[in-house]
């Protein structure tokens, strides 16, 4: 609301304290958002922070009398572009967290140095500028902001406008070209795939199912091999790619052992004496070894 009041008194040469307050609060938020965008380890978080910053900026636009752009900012940027970002993030892997560890030697320090230097320079430049008060947009927005923009857009900047149209078309076409894959040959039938697999002889039987247990049963949990070690194959390739396999085999084995223990106590039986037993405990042994 303060923003609205601020804009209502725009005609004044200096800005209202209200706007100042709003600026300092929201500006801080925007900066924090920006920083988070940069430093969050997960892309999703970055995206969200960026969205926040953009919304703040939208408010600033409004505060500066750019009503149309303010709305556009919210609708197009925060609404469309950021969503697009999120889609892609999903596509590439939401939870994939990339380490912030620098691989190129000296890159980080150089980057920081350049950043600070550049910032300092900009600050200095702005500091040189002698801008104390606003002209105000009252005159320009007298016929309404959108009308004013439209007048300019379809008058003075009409050619640029047309060209941007062309640009957008090109961009969309380009996007299609880049992402679209033409299927050159007929899709293989299941039969053919099977034959092929046999012929390759890499993994003839069907892949194992993911682990299904009392407490967890999910596609991202690797099934256990007879010796209790998890089998990567049982998880879908995508998850494997993203490294999003949860491994519960250790817990499972711990539970089994506990069960054994309890049963052994109940039956007064020395659990340690080795004797031929149906698979289970030997598996356990091997499983323990596998643990070590």
């Amino acid at each position: 609301m303060t923003a609205m009041t601020g804009t209502s008194v725009l005609a004044a040469y200096t800005t209202s304290t209200g706007e100042a307050v709003q600026f300092w609060i929201l500006g801080t938020i925007a900066v924090i958002g920006a920083l988070c965008t940069v430093f969050m380890r997960k892309a999703v978080h970055s995206a969200l922070c960026l969205a926040g910053t953009m919304i703040v900026l939208a408010v600033f636009y409004l505060a500066n009398g750019a009503y149309f752009l303010g709305i556009v900012q919210i609708v197009v940027y925060t609404g469309a572009i950021m969503m697009l970002f999120l889609f892609v993030v999903m596509l590439v892997g939401v939870t994939a967290a990339d380490s912030l560890k620098e691989t190129i030697r000296g890159q980080r320090w150089l980057a920081l140095l350049c950043g600070l230097g550049f910032g300092a320079l900009l600050a200095g430049g702005i500091g040189n500028a002698t801008l104390t008060e606003f002209e105000g947009l009252a005159a320009a927005n007298s016929a309404g902001n959108i009308q004013g923009l439209a007048a300019l857009l379809f008058g003075k900047y009409v050619f640029a406008f047309e060209i941007t149209g062309a640009l957008l078309i090109t961009a969309s076409v380009g996007a299609m070209v880049l992402t679209h894959r033409e299927r050159t040959e007929r899709a293989k039938t299941q039969k053919e795939l099977a034959e092929e697999r046999v012929r390759k002889g890499e993994y003839v039987p069907p892949l194992p199912a993911p682990g299904v247990y009392a407490r967890h049963n999910a596609v991202d949990i690797a099934g256990l091999l007879p010796d209790g070690t998890p089998s990567e194959l049982s998880v879908s390739a995508t998850l494997r790619e993203r490294g999003q396999i949860r491994d519960v085999s250790t817990e499972a084995i711990a539970d089994l052992r506990a069960l054994e223990q309890r049963s052994a106590e109940r039956l007064e039986r020395n659990p340690l004496e080795p004797r031929p037993r149906p698979g289970g405990s030997t598996e356990l042994k091997r499983a323990e070894e596998a643990q070590q």
């Binding site: 725009l10 500006g27 892309a43 953009m54 990339d98 801008l131 961009a171 996007a175």
Partner: protein, 99 residues
């Protein structure tokens, strides 16, 4: 309040974005940082237009947005296809330019 503050803010955001572009490896994040920079510019443009009392600044900002949109579309498409081929979205993996 001194209108220059808007510009300072814009400068700050821009610098942050630029630094982010430089230090992040994840192509998507890099892209976001670029967007951040663009927005910073937009902010300053709008501030300008208010200072000078004409709408040209806003028009430019508008165009920036359009261009940004186009750029995002293409860029993300590139990232996707990159991920498809390399199974990674790290800009460092696209280092075929190395001699």
């Amino acid at each position: 309040m001194n209108p220059v503050n808007y510009l300072y803010l814009a400068a700050l955001l821009f610098t942050i974005g630029a630094t982010g572009v430089l230090i992040r490896r994840n192509a998507i994040v890099v892209f976001m940082c670029i967007e951040l920079m663009l927005n910073a510019c937009n902010l300053s443009l709008i501030a300008f237009s208010r200072m000078h009392g004409n709408l040209d600044g806003q028009i430019i900002a508008f165009f920036t947005m359009v261009v940004a949109a186009a750029e995002v579309v293409v860029g993300l498409a590139i990232i996707v296809s990159l991920f498809r081929t390399r199974h990674s979205a790290s800009v460092d993996d696209a280092a075929l330019m190395k001699l």
